[in-house]
Amino acid sequence: MQLGDARTGKMADNLVAFGRALRRAGVPVDSARIALAGEAATLVDVGRRGDLQAALESTLVSRAQDREVFVELFDTFFRDPDVAAKLLAQMLPSAEAPGERSKQRPRVREALAPAKAPALAATKSDDDRVELDAAMTASEELRLRHADFNALGADEYRLVERLARALPLAMPEVASRRTGAAGRGTRPHWARTLRDAGRSGGELVRLIERRRRRQRLPLLVLVDVSGSMERYARLLLAFLHAATRGLRRDVFAFGTHLTDLTPAFKLADTDAMLEAAGRAIDDFAGGTRLGESLAALHRAHGRRLVGGRTLVLLVTDGLDTGEPEVLARELDWLRLHSRRVLWLNPLLRFDGYQPLARGAAVLHRQAHGMLAVHNLARLEELAAAIAAVMQR
């Protein structure tokens, strides 16, 4: 029997460990997948490293963004392709190999390191925070600068919950391309009509018609997290998270660059979402480069926009430090690829506000509508205001 042969059982152990490491690196792998990977490994020549890698990749990875993590982990986990005799020894996790660290991404490193006792999570008192502060590094400082992003106060939380319950953002609906039976429609629903006729002995008693079903518009939310928006960004994110639950939504934060918050928004709990968002955003309370951020969105996520249906909510005060030409061009693209671009502007709290800043002027010209979001009353009016803009 060959060393490292899948049938020796050693492979199974290694696969389970490998699967667990993948999971710790954030790749969704369940036990059914690991079993499938084991089956796949018996079908390829495990002596050929490339084949084994391809077999495991096709069974364990299911998202494009996980591939690089997989490749790095695989490299570390199953090292040395040539010498079959070495295979067994090499299949052991070798996370601590010196000199390799700098090449791996932190996610992979963490996934390979022994699991830490959940000490921090268990006792989340203020004392622990102070301890962390004592050993402050540059990255710690960064973390603390947006530490207030991590959780809502109890009062704020209740407020957001109440608001979201009271005013779920009733997103406008449009006719989808799917149809369903209706009393009055545009064309006959033959299946229903025939079933109906069958019941009355083949007599076409009435014609049932089909009509287009209604569907709610998908949402793209872009939230400015620059210094000038500090006071609003967190609460607005919390509100939008709670109020648009169940809708199809893509959420991004932008300051000096773009951050994808969609994974954070998938978390059910608003606090957990804020914590994840806080971790993801590393330019909180910095500058604003709206044009560049939109360009990044265009490049990386442009095709996620459901042309002509997406409703874009752009939450910013328009105090942009980037080039207005870039902003104008990207807004133009956004307009072409969505149903409506709505600018939610907290600066509307000032009477006689004029969009005079360079960025604000462009936004004012290009967006389909400008709505206020600076206080509760305005938030409560938001759904109605959106509906009104959609009518135009």
Partner: protein, 297 residues
């Protein structure tokens, strides 16, 4: 007919005119052996749909294709009743048969219009290759509808019951990743991300697809396109050309009796490589010159 090894499959695909790399062949081989659907993701024009066609050829199976679009419903994908025939039947037996009998008779399989999914399930041995193309264009309800098929190779028709596959169809799903597919769909599939080919593979593809293409020009085309896709050139364009575009381009160059690439030829035919106004404009004379300059060693 079924390839015995990855090498067999590679050779078979090559004979069918599809130059796959070994990673892709491994994924496809496993999909065949494990009888799992294979989900292919990648940029447009990297050969996702072609793989299904070539697989059908290699396996000697019929290719059935379901093109997905927004609003696709199960009656477009699975089956529909032949209402006109049912109606005629009802008329013919009117008054002579009881209501129950009529109902039983008009919902017979012979009044069923089979769409690709049902055809794939009922295909006689050796079975079919089912291509569910651009599944990311369909909406979530359709994805949910696919789950039963992807997991069990069966579908439920209320009037008839459950239809199970005679031979499990080789199922290929493709996605351009305009949105993320649901985890439930992905869990039922093997997954492969299809990248742009490397220069050598592209050269082999262009050569085999374009008759009458001079060797030096083929090399130039492969070099040019692969440089175009490399950093930092790729950033200058919204969408870089896929394999389909380079093949089309090579065909056009042959038709134009081109002997060698120069900036004029490149800018003059940019509309074949790029399908967006901005990208055509971005391929300027200077940029074309830069791209054609031999790479520094």
């Amino acid at each position: 007919m079924t390839p015995a090894s990855i090498d067999d499959l590679l050779a078979g695909l090559q004979a069918a005119g599809y130059h796959a790399d070994r990673r892709l062949a491994t994924a496809a081989f496993l999909a065949l052996r494990l009888q799992r659907p294979l989900l292919l993701e990648g940029e447009p024009g990297v050969g996702k749909t072609e793989l299904a066609k070539s697989l059908a050829q290699v396996l000697g199976r019929e290719l059935l294709r379901l093109q997905c679009y927004d609003g696709l419903e199960h009656r477009d994908a699975l089956y529909e009743w032949n209402y006109a025939a049912q109606l005629l039947h009802m008329r013919a037996v009117e008054g002579r048969e009881s209501v129950d009998e009529i109902e039983r008779e008009v919902y017979q399989p012979r009044y069923l219009i089979r769409r690709p999914l049902l055809q794939a399930l009922q295909a006689p041995a050796p079975g079919a290759v089912l291509l569910v193309d651009e599944v990311d264009r369909a909406d979530e309800p359709f994805e949910a509808f696919l789950l039963e098929y992807l997991g069990e190779y069966q579908v439920s028709i209320p009037e008839i019951g459950t239809v199970r596959a005679v031979v499990p169809p080789v199922t290929i799903l493709t996605s351009n990743r305009t949105r993320d597919l649901h985890d439930a769909v992905k869990r039922r599939c093997l997954y492969h991300w299809l990248d742009y080919p490397d220069r050598e593979r592209e050269l082999a593809i262009v050569r085999s697809r374009v008759p009458g293409l001079a060797d030096s020009l083929a090399r130039q085309v492969a070099d040019f396109v692969s440089r175009l896709r490399s950093q930092p050139f790729a950033d200058a364009f919204q969408r870089v050309p896929g394999i389909a575009e380079s093949v089309e381009w090579a065909r056009a160059l042959v038709a134009l009796d081109t002997l060698a690439l120069d900036p004029e030829v490149v800018t003059g035919t940019a509309g074949i490589l790029f399908k967006q106004r901005e990208d055509v404009a971005a391929l300027t004379h200077e940029r074309a010159t830069e791209l054609l300059r031999p790479e520094p060693a």
